[in-house]
Symmetry: C2
Subunit: 134 residues, 2 copies
């Protein structure tokens, strides 16, 4: 069912400083700052040859990553995003296995303009998983 790893999301305390670590110290290609008000984050993409790292910072205290940053003030890995071909079929199979889809259980449009859902970390080895339809 799952295909490629699309990205790893890392929540960071300072977006520009974080991008500088990836650009200057680790020598990676980084994007400009993207502001995604509908997701409550500002975001910088780190482009690797085979996948992306997404550096996320909350827009305000209603952001879905605000409390994570409070608990992890130095930053930390927040979620993994796997690509799937058929999000509805994937959700059906996962629900049959007892896995919990977060929120109201319906796909939303993600940061790349494609339908996504998030799966409960307690059902997946302490890892928050995003599934993105491609």
């Amino acid at each position: 069912m799952i295909g490629r790893l699309n990205h790893i999301a890392i929540v960071v305390p300072d977006l520009v400083a974080a991008a500088d670590i990836y650009k200057a110290s680790l020598g990676a290609v980084v994007s400009e700052v993207n502001v995604l008000p509908e997701h409550g984050v500002r975001l910088i993409f780190v482009e690797l040859p085979n996948c992306k790292i997404e550096l996320l910072h909350p827009i305000d205290n209603t952001s879905p990553v605000f409390s994570f940053l409070e608990k992890n003030p130095s930053g930390g890995m927040h979620h993994l995003c796997y690509e799937v071909e058929d999000l509805y079929a994937s959700m059906k199979r996962l629900k049959m296995d007892g896995a919990r889809v977060l929120g109201d259980g319906r796909p939303k449009i993600g940061a790349h303009g494609k339908p996504v859902v998030f799966l409960h970390p307690k059902d997946f080895l302490g890892t928050l998983i995003e599934l993105e339809q491609v």
Copy 2:
């Protein structure tokens, strides 16, 4: 400097149950159990089209992932591994930037038989980073 993401390591409380989540629920291809006494872990590879997930479980309480599992009993993301072409040149550049290499600072032979070092998570946004020479 950094190239491909080689793998994401996830420490898990039960290796066979973890592999079953990736195989049965998420439909991924998983390996048999590999025992790596020199690294203090038992390990299962999840093979994705563009990278690997490594599911790790400590062999005993001297394992480098033992305390992580104590702090995260449901499991959790432990480190990211990026590939580099020249590990010594990468280390030199990182040390000039003030980044700390863990242990005695010298490369060791990693789980894939190639030289690796680990970088201090406090210097990299709360993320433990492994660099592997390819």
